[in-house]
């Protein structure tokens, strides 16, 4: 049976190759540091379960330290813009097709495990989607290697090119999830929940609880600049105790829509620099330094009705 442990080995191999290829890339001004960063991540994927809790904590601390002093970007060999344009002209819209393999296999694998007898024999039931996803990536890469015939190292070098451009930000969601665990252990959600319960009447009725959770997600995202950071706090404070436990909401539906309510907040905050400040600079807007620049002002009239739509949708759909 293919389990998540095998998927971790594959992904660990990916990070380990990035590390080695970075180390031998003289074009990367900080190649030792970059190589060490990805090597630590590969270690986590290969051997995290043997390191112990404190060991993993120290590993995370080392990753943070390396990210804080700064990683470098290498220059992996790739095609020129002219070659790409030529290939795009020649191959046409067929190029979009291999991209569909990954979601198709991920979905197909998930459904096979759920609805067939042979599915659970091949794929670990508990992690069916993630395992299917990694299988999908391997199939897509095989198809692309046969079709495009690039150099043997091309998939790893192209992966490194993109990974280098993402950099340490690649770990932010995982780090925020871990911060959520520390918040949980320290009772941060309970405290925020107590504040909510104190100031908002009838928080145990469905409509009020749903509205408080969605608006809280949006507001907290505006403050923190990131729905990922707001989600663990607001869900532990209001989503879980009130919408899910007290009112009987379905966890998957409440959380899925709650996260999207947070995204409405992302549209309205200058703290979300990547999405709202970077484009204002790129497009040379005259008000790019203002708190509410042109991009944010163009987004608010969509974000507010959509926040209301999320409240209505959660109220209607989350209590089956």
């Amino acid at each position: 049976m293919i389990t998540l442990a095998y998927a971790y080995i594959v992904v660990g191999f990916f990070f380990a190759s990035i590390s080695i290829l970075s180390l031998i890339d003289r074009a990367n001004p900080r190649r030792a540091r970059t190589a060490l960063f990805w090597a630590l991540l590969a270690t986590s994927f290969w051997a995290g379960q043997f390191l112990g809790d404190l060991g993993n904590g120290l590993l995370a601390l080392a990753l943070v330290a390396l990210a804080a002093i700064g990683l470098g970007q290498g220059k992996p060999p790739t095609t020129t813009p002219e070659q790409r344009r030529e290939s795009a002209e020649r191959r046409g819209n067929l190029l979009f097709l291999p991209a569909l393999i990954i979601p198709a296999v991920a979905l197909g694998g998930t459904l096979a495990v759920q609805y067939t007898d042979w599915g659970p024999v091949i794929i670990q039931e508990q992690h069916k989607t993630l395992v299917s996803l990694v299988i999908g990536v391997l199939i897509a890469v095989t198809v692309l290697m046969i079709w495009l015939r690039p150099p043997v190292l091309a998939p790893l070098q192209e992966g490194r090119r993109l990974m280098d451009s993402v950099g340490w930000a690649a770990l932010l969601p995982q780090m925020l999830a871990s911060l959520g665990a520390v918040f949980l252990a320290a009772g941060v959600g309970d405290q925020v929940g107590r504040i909510f319960a104190e100031y908002i009447p009838m928080l145990d009725t469905k409509t009020v609880a749903v509205a408080a959770y969605c608006i809280g997600m949006a507001l907290f995202t505006i403050i923190m600049g990131n729905a990922f950071a707001a989600f663990p706090v607001m869900t532990a404070a209001v989503g879980l105790p009130f919408v899910i436990i007290a009112c009987g909401g379905d966890p998957a539906r409440v959380c899925a829509i709650g996260m999207l309510a947070g995204f409405c907040g992302t549209l309205m905050t200058p703290m979300a620099a990547n999405f709202n400040v970077v484009p204002a600079n790129l497009l040379e807007l005259p008000d790019r330094k203002a708190a509410l620049n042109g991009v944010i002002r163009a987004q608010i009239p969509t974000a507010l009705p959509l926040l209301i739509a999320n409240i209505v949708l959660m109220r209607l759909l989350a209590f089956p």
Binding site: V11, P98, I101, T110, T129, L144, S178, V192, F263
Partner: protein
């Protein structure tokens, strides 16, 4: 109340633009230490609290490795980019024969939301698509119709080009099962012994995606109306000055 200091650290960190990973780690340690602090606490208690916090963080970091598992997707996407996937997307968009700003941005919204839902989030984006392609095309569509643009309308159109990219991305990507936010939700709920499948979560992103499409389509229609109203009269107004 002291444990809320961690949230303050996050906000402060984002304001001073410190490295977000550093901010997260600092917030975790602050929270752990604040939870353990009493007026009677000595150095040993606080050192132990810091060590325990780091262990709690480490356990969660190890348990949520699957959130970073999705980066392996980049191997396939990188290969496709090597063969000109982005150039192909550009050609496809450039072939859109939409007469107005609103309609052009609407077609881009559909493409951006649709490809994000398939996990192809890197096809769009401000440096890759909006600045070199979508914004100039939108400005071009307006110029073809109304002549030279006043600065106000030019910047309004550019802002809308960026906004459309963000909205298409945000409310499309959660339909894909392996996007970080979906896995973050899964990991969070697992901490409370609630097991959900990424698939269940992504299905419930669809109603909001439809609402976002409807609302933003209306906005783009209104943008066209606004531009027509403001710019059709503009030449006469300028001539009168």
């Amino acid at each position: 109340m002291l444990v809320l200091l961690g949230i303050g650290v996050v906000v402060f960190g984002f304001i001073v633009r410190a490295n977000p990973l550093l901010v997260v780690m600092a917030a975790a340690l602050t929270t752990g230490l604040a939870a353990a602090w009493t007026p009677a606490a000595d150095i040993t208690t606080m050192t132990n609290a810091a060590r325990d916090t780091l262990a709690t963080f480490g356990k969660a970091f190890n348990d949520s490795r699957y959130i970073s598992l999705t980066w392996v997707l980049l191997v396939a996407i990188g290969l496709l980019e090597r063969a000109g996937l982005q150039e192909r997307a550009r050609i496809t968009i450039a072939n859109v024969k939409a007469a107005t700003v609103g309609r052009l941005l609407w077609v881009y919204l559909l493409i951006r939301q649709g490809t994000s839902a398939l996990g192809l989030t890197s096809l769009g984006g401000h440096p890759q698509m909006v600045r070199p392609l979508v914004a100039p095309m939108a400005e071009g569509a307006a110029e073809a119709k109304f002549g030279a643009l006043p600065d106000r309308e030019r910047y309004l159109i550019r802002s809308h080009a960026a906004a459309t990219d963000n909205i298409g991305l945000f409310f499309g990507e959660d339909i894909f099962i392996a996007i970080a936010s979906i896995l973050l939700i899964k990991g969070f709920l697992e901490g409370y012994d609630i097991i959900v499948e990424p698939f269940e979560l992504s299905v419930w992103a669809i109603p909001t995606a439809i609402a976002a499409l409807a609302i933003h389509s209306l906005r783009l229609w209104l943008l066209d109306r606004h531009l027509t109203r403001t710019l059709s009269k503009a030449p006469t107004a300028e001539a009168a000055q």
